[in-house]
Amino acid sequence: MIRVENLVKVFGEEPERALALMEQGRTKAEIREETGLTVGVNDVSFHVDRGEIFVIMGLSGSGKSTLLRCVNRLIEPLSGSVFLQTDEGEVDVTELDDERLRAVRRDSLSMVFQRFGLLPHRTVLDNVAFGQEIRRTNRRERRRLAEEMLGAVGLAGWEREIPAQLSGGMQQRVGLARALATQANVLLMDEPFSALDPLIKVNMQDELLRIQSELHRTILFITHDLDEALRLGNRIAIMDDGQIVQSGTPEEIIVNPKTEYVADFVEHADPTGVMTAKTVALPVQTRRFDAEDLGGGRQRYVRRGTEHLAYVLEDERFEALERDGQRVPTRPLAEALEDEAPTGSRDDAVLVAGPDATLKEVLQGRIHSHLPQVVVDGGGRLLGVISERELIHGILYKTANPDVEAAVASQAAQEATA
């Protein structure tokens, strides 16, 4: 949907001077010292897929807002390309003349701002309809669209109010409705919730996810808040000093921070909503388990230290958990989570989690059963088990279980030799 390639922005007089230095790999500080130029965005490339929320996260001064503004050329990039999928096919935004750039801004890219940017002299309805007004949509149609979008953001009935009469959260809802009402497929959101109170911020994030699940726009979202990035992003790119230092799914970032900078961020993040069962689950084919072949393709695995529990597999598929030789009933985790929390005994079933169940869900599952949970993939193949130990490890260290890594590594080694 959006493909950004080798984008560069340098602030100052005659910015071209910085290009050669950047090619030599000089840092932002060195270039500043030498030329007095400020590198805003340093050779950034990324792509955003259709219907995805792509979050760019970084501290202030990391160049994330500049990067976003280069996408719709509110700030003119020095070099690089921004390919955008529009109704008329793919265009390079950086190549457009003023007239066509305005057309792209009107029709294909809309933007939400941190400080809302609402027109104080227009009613809420007129603000939301404004984008359509610029496109010269007829009055009735733009009114209908605006009312629909106000309904979508939960502001029906506020049409006649003036922005100044609204709270910050409501103003940003108007800003969001305005961006949605342009019918543009791509939304650029520049720290839209950063100016809001924490509680309202979380509400707005939920709201955005809800709206996104209905409207499926493509969203490029800027934030300095990792928790927000983890909550919203299908994929996240982390920026530092004008460069993207790491990008990937929230879990990849949390589990495997590539630089010190990313690690610092991740340290204080809450991993439970991001990390998945498959990451922390301990495979049974590791040294912590004793295996016993039952014949006919069936095996029984017993974990050292918890000898009263045995996992029975058939063709690598999970068959049952035996406790002291008795089979325990099996139940899907998702189903258990729909029940109310039990008040009495809770270890009557072993819960089966999908590979993408979050740690939060696994934790909630522990309320229903304190037996280890088993993680199976779509085909029923056992990926591993999650006992208290794996949970604690995952939450504390935000990494995969070392045994998992070892298993993965040995498997890779086996495949390599084979």
Binding site: L109, S110, F113, R115, G117, L119, P120, G131, I134
Partner: protein, 544 residues
């Protein structure tokens, strides 16, 4: 306790006690004999003023705010009216037998009654008391219309009494009756000074302010330049303009038109080269090029506007004040009022999307156009008057002076006044445009607005209140500075003031000053009203 009311009572009371109330002058120029409130002969009803002046002091100790407010309003209003009415009666008595009250040697001819200090302090004290009372009423949240009534009752009664002739005994009124026709003409002249220079200043000032807001490097230069103009004493500015304008006046019209044409070509060439080359020039050269373009355009433009405006002023002055074109001026007035009425009805009484709205809009536009046409007709008629083009026989004999530009007179006054109006206009336009929230501008750009859409739909409405404040400042200042224009023979209300100074006749000074003050206040109120009407409620709320 209401300290303000106590202050009002003290001002009025002490004034009545220590200051003379009236002065009886044997003739227009000679100093007269002053009379204290106690010295009035006859009955003791004048002591009512004393009582009324002391009453607020006693009332100010009342605890119940609402009744205190009403009592203070009543006392203040009564004091306000009676301070003018009662001495007028006394004055009439004095005039019946002026010899009895004057020194034997006085030359008595058309003796006059001059209101003196105690009337001024009395009015001030009454107003302060009234204000204190209305403030009390506001505190207990009496309905707004009652507050307004309380505030305006006394001035309205006073105005009715004035129209009724109750105050005709006072010398200022005598002066007014003597100079009524002249006053009207000077007032119109003054009004035209203000409106024409404010109009031209508005275009130039807002233009410069806009330019300054668009170019950070030029902004300090522009602001500094208009600031400097403001520091030049107005008299000096008139003097500076004297010689060049006298020279210009001597030029033949055709020669000037030729020069104007050449200068225009130069300006267009400069602007064209700037448009073509600016992007390729280094920063410093570009600025020089830009300033050269600006000056190249400004000089012929200023010349043209100066001549045009002086000529229009002359036409308007003849048209409106000579009395020879009563039918046309009457038509203009009627059309203007009708245009205003259609606008007002359309705005307040007709819902947004009704058929009537469109009809009224059309009516409004056509009435406005008709007004403009009528003004043009008036000017054409006035150009036939021999006060306009005098004895000019042929086009080649026509000089710029015949068009109204000369070293003294209206032209330098208009130029100076226009220059003085620039600072508030430029500064406020610049500040207004610069303070528009960047996020809002960005959101406009992000939505794909063209620069002109952005300017008219975002920047202008948001900066409008600030720009209008500048217009108000400039307008009020121009009314005051306009009185100085009399020294270069430009006319206006200053004529009375300077005559009064020459004659040491305070009545004449007041005859010029009071209309000027009233004009300034009314202009301020009207512009404030316009600002309020045209500012959207959303922006007003943001300002608060």
């Amino acid at each position: 306790m209401n300290r303000i009311a106590m202050l009002g009572g003290l001002i009025a009371g002490l004034g009545f006690f220590f200051l003379p109330t009236l002065a009886l002058k044997p003739n227009r120029l000679a100093p007269g004999t002053s009379f204290n409130l106690f010295e009035f002969q006859g009955d003791d009803r004048y002591l009512v003023l004393f009582v009324l002046a002391l009453l607020p002091i006693l009332l100010s100790f009342r605890h119940d705010v609402e009744s205190r407010g009403w009592l203070l309003v009543g006392t203040g209003s009564l004091l306000f009216v009676l301070t003018l009415v009662l001495p007028a009666g006394a004055g009439r008595l004095l005039l019946e037998t002026p010899e009895a009250f004057l020194d034997g040697g006085a030359f008595i001819r058309n003796p006059r009654i001059l209101p003196a200090g105690a009337i001024a302090t009395g009015l001030l004290g009454a107003y302060v008391t009234l204000f204190a009372g209305v403030r009390d009423l506001a505190k207990v949240e009496v309905q707004t219309w009652l507050q307004a009534l309380a505030t305006w009752l006394a001035p309205i009664v006073t105005l009715l009494l004035l129209l009724n002739g109750t105050f005709d005994v006072y010398s200022i009124m005598v002066e007014f009756y003597a100079n009524g026709a002249a006053l009207e003409q000077k007032f119109v002249e003054h009004l035209m000074f203000v409106f024409i220079s404010l109009g031209v200043g508005f275009v130039v000032g807002v233009g410069l302010g806009l330019w300054a807001s668009r170019d950070e490097r030029l902004a300090p230069i522009i602001l500094y330049a208009v600031g400097i103009i403001q520091t030049i004493p107005s008299l000096a500015l008139f003097g500076v303009l004297l010689v060049p304008l006298a020279r210009l006046g001597d030029q033949s019209f055709l020669a000037t038109a030729g020069f104007f044409g050449i200068a225009l070509v130069v300006a267009v060439a400069l602007a064209g080269s700037y448009a073509l080359l600016a992007d390729r020039e280094p920063g410093r050269v570009r600025i020089v090029h830009l300033i050269a373009t600006a000056i190249g355009a400004a000089v012929p433009l200023a010349l043209f506007v100066g001549v045009l405006v002086s000529f229009v002023f002359r036409l308007a002055n003849v048209g409106f004040t000579s009395g020879a074109y009563g039918d046309t001026t009457g038509t203009i007035l009627v059309l203007l009022l009708a245009a205003l009425a259609t606008w007002g009805v359309g705005r307040w009484f007709v819902p947004d999307e009704s058929r009537w709205r469109r009809g009224l809009k059309v009516a409004n536009w056509s009435l406005s156009a008709a007004t403009a046409v009528a003004v043009v007709v008036l000017f054409v008629q006035a150009s036939g008057s021999n006060r306009v083009l005098g004895g000019v026989e042929s086009l080649s004999a026509l000089t710029i002076r015949d068009l109204g530009v000369s070293g003294i007179g209206v032209a330098p006054a208009l130029i100076a006044l226009t220059l003085y109006s620039l600072l508030p206009l430029v500064r406020n336009t610049y500040a207004g445009l610069n303070n528009v929230d960047l996020a809002i501008i960005d959101s406009g750009r992000g939505m794909g607005m063209t620069p002109s859409q952005r300017f008219f739909q975002i920047e202008l409405p948001l900066a409008f209140p600030v720009i209008m404040a500048g217009v108000r400042n400039a307008g009020v200042a121009l009314v005051g500075i306009g009185t100085v224009a009399t020294v270069i023979g430009a006319g206006g209300l200053g004529d009375f003031v300077i005559q009064g100074i020459v004659n040491t006749s305070i009545d004449q000074i007041l005859l010029g000053a009071i209309p000027a003050i009233a004009l300034a206040l009314v202009l301020d109120a009207v512009l404030r009203g316009v600002e309020g009407l045209l500012t959207s409620p959303g922006i007003r709320q943001v300002q608060q």
